[in-house]
């Protein structure tokens, strides 16, 4: 109470009457309680603008995407998968109940026998079916085109898992421990490739992209699809590329060349 009565604006003129004194002190206390939250809100608003250095946040001017050159993707190499597991704290097991955010698939042209290898993960669609079907709004697309699950809102209904044509989403069946500090994951929620959103927000590349270039393949190119001068946009403009399940007209953020 002593704190509240110190406030000069609330303190009444000196009163000698016992009852009046008590009432004024009580009023001061009450007003102090009411004023304090308002003051705090202003402080918060000021602090939010003049903060140290939080990331600037997702901008709709940017659309993050990937171009995967399956010609450069080596058959049998799983460096992107390993890097993803390490970065995001996934177990790396491949049982039916284990989460898998990225996987390597081999495709084969039946007539010629020509095989190709490529990584498959969330395609970060511009028109994501997972977002369309989500009953709670947990599945959403960020301003910069990254499709995510807000696990605070996810109820684990798995409708999005069904809706995704790429089988990109996983459900966490078991209680987890030792999650990565930047990658919260928990039982009862759906998850998928986040395009390493915690790294992208810091201006870094997704883990799979770095791993692929470290392995010397450089099959995955990451960049801004909205910027006509970005490497990815120039490559897409000059070389043929495909979206997987183009017929669905989802405008995927992950494009493939050489398939």
């Amino acid at each position: 109470m002593t704190q509240d009565t110190k406030s000069p604006s609330i303190q009444p003129p000196k009163s000698t009457s016992g009852r009046r004194g008590f009432l004024s002190v009580a009023a001061a206390g009450l007003a102090g309680v009411m004023i304090a939250p308002g003051v705090r809100l202003i402080e918060i608003a000021q602090a939010a603008t003049a903060d140290t250095a939080p990331s600037r946040g997702a901008s709709s001017k940017v659309r993050w995407g990937m171009l995967i050159d399956s010609g450069k993707c080596a058959s049998g190499c799983t460096d992107c998968v390993t890097a993803c597991n390490t970065e995001n704290g996934l177990s790396g097991e491949t049982r039916a109940t284990d989460s898998q955010w990225i996987r390597k698939i081999e495709i084969k042209e039946v007539r010629t026998g020509k095989t190709q290898s490529l990584p498959m993960m969330c395609q970060h669609c511009a028109e994501p079916p997972c977002v369309d079907v989500c009953p709670t709004g947990a599945s959403f697309k960020r301003a910069d085109g990254i499709v995510l699950v807000d696990k605070h809102i996810c109820i684990g209904c798995r409708y999005c898992v069904m809706a995704c044509p790429y089988k990109a989403r996983s459900f966490v069946h078991q209680p987890l421990s030792n999650q990565k500090a930047d990658v919260p994951r928990g039982m009862g929620t759906v998850e998928s490739c986040t395009l390493c959103v915690h790294k992208v927000d810091k201006g870094e590349m997704p883990a799979c992209v770095s791993a692929c270039s470290d392995a010397g393949h450089g099959a995955i190119l990451f960049g801004d699809l909205n910027d006509p001068n970005s490497e990815i946009s120039r490559r897409l403009a000059s070389y043929p590329s495909r979206q997987i399940r183009e017929d669905l007209n989802l405008n995927t953020g992950v494009r493939y060349s050489g398939i």
Binding site: T52, G57, A181
Partner: protein, 167 residues
């Protein structure tokens, strides 16, 4: 004249006195300078000391409003991509992780757990979020190791900055 039907004047007075005592106890605990184990009869949560110089807000304010700040920040982070802001959970963990367990919620005396056990309020945060700071966060308090902190996450840099202010 009876003040309330069914209650004697004496019992009403006693209730009022009890109320006053409780209110005083509450204010005292809220405006106390530093949390400590109470010497008196009222049990108090044991709160481990934090690493940083000072909290992002007045501790009295934080005690009552941290959940609102965190909830607001979580939406900004997940949907807006704003990381390392003033009220980020990572920031809290960076400063308040225990010196012994390295966590805010592993042992019952750890920062978050201590009060939440005391208040019997279950926290769900750490079912998904790590209760330990990111790799390099606040685990290298010696001044010799400070240059190595340049490559860490922004929220961790915030912690490092706070520490540098300390003489």
């Amino acid at each position: 004249m009876r003040p309330f039907a069914g209650f004697s004047f004496r019992s009403v007075c006693r209730a009022a006195a009890m109320g006053l005592v409780m209110a005083t106890a509450l204010t005292a605990s809220a405006s106390g300078a530093g949390p400590q184990v109470a010497a008196g009869r009222v049990p108090q949560p044991i709160i481990e000391s934090a690493r940083g110089d000072k909290c992002v807000q007045d501790p009295v304010f934080m005690r009552r409003n941290h959940m609102e700040l965190l909830k607001h920040q979580r939406d900004d982070t997940v949907h807006g991509g704003i990381r390392g802001a003033k009220y980020s959970l990572n920031g809290c963990i960076g400063c308040h992780a225990s010196q012994t367990t390295g966590s805010v919620a592993t042992a019952s005396t750890n920062f978050c757990q201590s009060c939440h056990v005391y208040a019997a309020v279950k926290i769900d945060c750490f079912e998904c979020h790590s209760s330990k700071p990111a790799r390099t966060a606040a685990h290298s308090p010696s001044p010799q190791e400070k240059p190595a902190q340049t490559a860490v996450a922004p929220q961790v840099q915030g912690v490092a900055l706070q520490k540098q202010v300390k003489p």
